[in-house]
């Protein structure tokens, strides 16, 4: 935290307020919790999805379906990067995804390539009724025609900066910070 290379953007309370609003928006856009399924993108998207699910349960009393999706095998740059990145597990919700209203959840939306990969993977799994995109932070900089439906916060970020969403399971705390990329690594 004392690292002056990092700029706090959202603290824990900010994230909780954003999650509460996003959860309401998801239920509102869906017209209730009927057929609603959250799919978190591995890894930090799954934590955000789990927070949203808890929030929706608090507000409506309904425990909605939930799964996770690892997009590694659908990346468009696999043969350009190397060595092979670690593949995570995808877990479909028991109710499946056919005829469900899917909400893809991720921590940061940037180039849009992860979401493109997730859409392809979901298409291979089945045919949902509808897919929405929900992200905690939209940092701009899209390279594909993909836009979010529900956003926690829009954060303007420079090319030499990175957005870090911190989650308790991986980072020990909840929050959003900007970090400067090492100029050597550019």
């Amino acid at each position: 935290m004392a690292d002056d290379n990092r700029i706090p953007v959202m603290d824990e309370a900010d994230v909780h307020r954003a999650i509460a609003r996003m959860a309401r928006e998801i239920v509102e856009r869906n017209g209730g919790t009927e057929a609603l399924t959250l799919l978190g993108i591995h890894r930090r998207g799954t934590d955000i999805a789990s927070l949203l699910r808890d929030e929706i349960e608090r507000a409506t009393g309904e425990r909605i379906a939930y799964g996770s999706i690892d997009i590694t095998l659908y990346r468009d740059d696999l043969m350009m990067i190397g060595p092979a990145p670690v593949v995570g597990a995808s877990e479909l919700p028991p109710s499946g995804i056919d005829n469900r209203n899917i909400v893809i959840v991720d921590d940061v939306l940037y180039r849009g390539r992860t979401v493109r990969a997730a859409l392809d993977e979901i298409t291979d799994w089945g045919r949902p009724s509808r897919i929405l995109l929900c992200v905690l932070v939209d940092r701009g900089g899209r390279e594909l025609p993909i836009q979010p439906d529900i956003v926690g916060r829009e954060v303007p970020v420079m090319e030499n900066q990175r957005v870090d969403v911190l989650v308790p399971t991986l980072d020990g705390r909840l929050g959003v910070e900007l970090a400067f990329l090492d100029p050597e690594s550019k």
Binding site: T72, M80, I81, G82, P83, P85, V87, A89, D124
Partner: protein, 323 residues
């Protein structure tokens, strides 16, 4: 951000010099691949556009089909060549066959060959990745890897386990690959079988020898029962199949006399009633069909790791993590 795995290099020919970290990274990579085979659409696009030749100079059903499923589930384009129907019968050499395939622009060769060292020989002469699917009496790396994955699935670890390889270790490439990988991961390894079927020099690797199956079963957490390779035996290695079964066969009686539960593996194809009794093969100790299922996941993992991008652009992977 995606951490990158250790590179396996160009080929998978042998497990003798593969590190503990590399073996664990293959096993860990196989875990998420298991789930793909349970999907309704059993296919991911990761090897789209890659061409793989399955070059089988020896008979194989399980291994060839397992590799082919693994390749197809990763969206690779595959061609199968069996020696009997190819120009090999016209006298073409291995290198000429491979160079001709190279000339048609392929990316990987999965090869089974009757000569020990054939996979290494080929890997040094062509730029494509070579995966050894069994070379003579040398090695069968993917079989050992799927054995390890199956053991880890059922017992939660490899390190510190006592694994006994039972039977025809002399003719077995499965035994050799298993010994290397198990020792690398810190298991205790033993071999049990008739002295005529013990490979010379095996004790130098730190492997315990048992000549009585009862002792081996009492000692072991895991038995990997090898097939008696009748087609490779010319001469008196064993007195008769009936006697082999009587002395070294893995039977329910013998397993029930053991002080603890023993996990039973067999690489197949089984000679039921010779090295393993039918009621053991189909019984509660057996994980033989789990091995077959895991075989596809392990081969997907190996294909994925070998097909990965170039080492020098690893920095790009770190940059590309946030997408």
């Amino acid at each position: 951000m995606n951490p990158s795995l250790l590179s396996l290099g160009k080929d998978l020919v042998s497990l003798e010099h593969v590190s503990r970290e590399q073996i664990l990274s293959i096993l860990d990579t196989a875990e998420p691949f298991k789930e793909i085979s349970e999907r309704r659409i059993k296919k991911v696009p990761v090897l789209r556009g890659k061409t793989i030749v399955n070059l089988f100079f020896e008979a194989s059903t399980r291994t060839r089909v397992s590799f082919e499923f693994a390749e197809k589930r990763l969206s690779a384009d595959t061609v199968n060549i069996a020696a009997s129907g190819s120009s090999v019968v016209k006298g073409e050499t291995l290198v000429d066959t491979a160079r001709n395939l190279e000339a048609m622009r392929i990316d990987m060769v999965v090869m089974r060959h009757g000569s020990s060292g054939a996979a290494r020989f080929l890997s040094e002469r062509i730029p494509s990745s070579v995966i050894n699917a069994g070379d003579g009496q040398h090695e069968h790396p993917t079989q050992a890897l799927l054995d390890l994955l199956t053991i880890r699935d059922h017992l939660g670890r490899i390190e510190g386990l006592k694994v006994c390889i039972v039977g025809d270790a002399l003719h077995s490439r499965v035994a050799r690959s298993n010994v290397y990988a198990l020792l690398t991961l810190g298991a205790e390894v033993a071999i049990c079988g008739p002295p005529t079927l013990m490979p010379p020099g095996i004790a130098d690797l730190g492997v315990t020898m048992f000549t009585r199956i009862e002792e081996a079963i009492e000692w072991a957490d895991v038995l990997n029962v090898l097939r008696l390779q009748l087609e490779r035996m010319h001469g008196g290695y064993v007195p008769s199949l009936r006697e082999y079964n009587r002395i070294w066969g893995v039977t329910t009686e013998r397993l029930e006399a053991a002080p603890k539960d023993v996990l039973v593996l067999h690489p197949g194809p089984m000679n039921r009633g010779v090295e393993i009794d039918s009621d053991v093969a189909d019984g509660p100790h057996s994980v033989i069909l789990n091995q077959v299922t895991n075989g596809v996941a392990i081969r997907m993992a190996v294909l994925y790791l070998l097909a990965g991008g170039q080492q020098e652009s690893a920095e790009a992977a770190k940059q590309g993590g946030e997408v």
